[in-house]
Assembly symmetry: C2
Homo-oligomer: 207 residues x 2
DNA sequence: GTCTATAAGGAGATAGAC
DNA sequence: GTCTATCTCCTTATAGAC
């Protein structure tokens, strides 16, 4: 519980903050050292390369996203529309707390094709991770079978919801800069978006 | 019509290609010179700084996007649902031809706050550009008034559609790398997404 | 206008003293 | 483990010859 952790974990923590703020190419190992309060050589001593350090941050973030994505859809004993409402609400809450995460992951995947393949392989090696889609597919197609919702491919279902939720947070810094809005106006905007999206999706996929 | 344009426009053209492929920070003036077939000093001779060259590319791209956004909604003499169908179709067509454009613009705006403010001022100085939203607002709220569609804020209407269309193209390189799909499978995927999104939006905003 | 050469600075990574 | 010093490479930008 002491503030002083070992240096290795302090470096990892500072690196995580900086990579999320400024991306891989926008963060130097000198920046990381400066935030930790040590010298640049130590960053390389513990992690050898900047890429190693980055991958530890990146992979843990992808894992968090995958867990968050499926969790609210798996709750039992709820009407599908309530599940959906809860899921979209949960995504909004998660993204409010981790607003730079989607852009970070997408950006780093797009900027480096080798990284994209590495991430894909890492993802596929783990059964529970790679079954995220299968799990959601199960839930959605059960509802289609019951006639609760119109026939829809699970990939469309997922992409519709992810697009509608994530995109707001990707462009949030632009919205903030353009509208010069306060934190509470921002929160109001996000909340209003959430309600509209819930309405759009529920009406958009009903039979 | 000859292939040989003047060097200045060749540099601009190559810079545009490279900035779109690899972003501002991923493109060096040496890369640009190499593609043109001249030396790096000439890039600076014509544009002085890399930033100047970038801004010419960037501003023209933002202009293209704004024009494309409003155009299909302004056609007269059409049922609103048909307008909507056409608009989403037109956005998909535009994005198919310019698939890296959304990520490029968002990325560069997010990576540089000064650039964001510059772009915003540039945007606001021009009346027709800054009235894009007003124009769309007019169209949408007229339909709300007539009861064709449910009460919806224009900002929600725009963001719903932009999110649903743009996001597919942002993540397309990831989809391609992960699914190892051919060009025709990719086209089929995009087309299937288009149809689903049209259905989702039309049902999602009807009264 | 076009070239070569180079200045000036920042990056990642390592060597070696303590 | 932690530090300073340094190597090597790459970047933007400019000086100056032709």
């Amino acid at each position: 519980m002491s503030k002083e952790q070992n240096l290795e974990s302090e470096i990892l923590k500072s690196a995580e903050e900086l990579f999320l703020e400024n991306g891989f190419s926008g963060t130097s190992t000198t920046d990381i050292a400066k935030r930790v309060g040590c010298n640049q050589a130590l960053v390389h001593y513990y992690f050898r390369t900047k890429e190693n350090l980055f991958l530890q941050v990146f992979n843990s973030k992808v894992e968090t996203i995958l867990t968050t994505l499926q969790k609210p859809l798996l709750q039992q004993n709820a009407e599908f529309n309530d599940k959906l409402r809860n899921a979209i609400g949960a995504y909004f809450d998660f993204l409010t707390e981790n607003s730079r995460l989607p852009f970070f992951v997408i950006n780093e995947l797009l900027c480096n094709r080798e990284r994209l393949k590495l991430a894909y392989n890492y993802f596929m090696q783990n059964t529970s991770r790679s079954k995220v889609f299968e799990t959601i597919d199960n839930v959605v197609q059960t509802e289609v079978g019951k006639g609760t919702i119109r026939p829809i491919k699970t990939v469309d279902f997922v992409l519709d919801i992810v697009s509608l939720t994530v995109f707001n947070f990707i462009i949030m810094p632009i919205y903030k800069a353009v509208s010069d809005s306060t934190e509470s106006e921002k929160a109001e905007f996000i909340n209003s978006r959430k309600e509209d999206i819930i309405t759009l999706v529920i009406n958009g996929i009903k039979c």
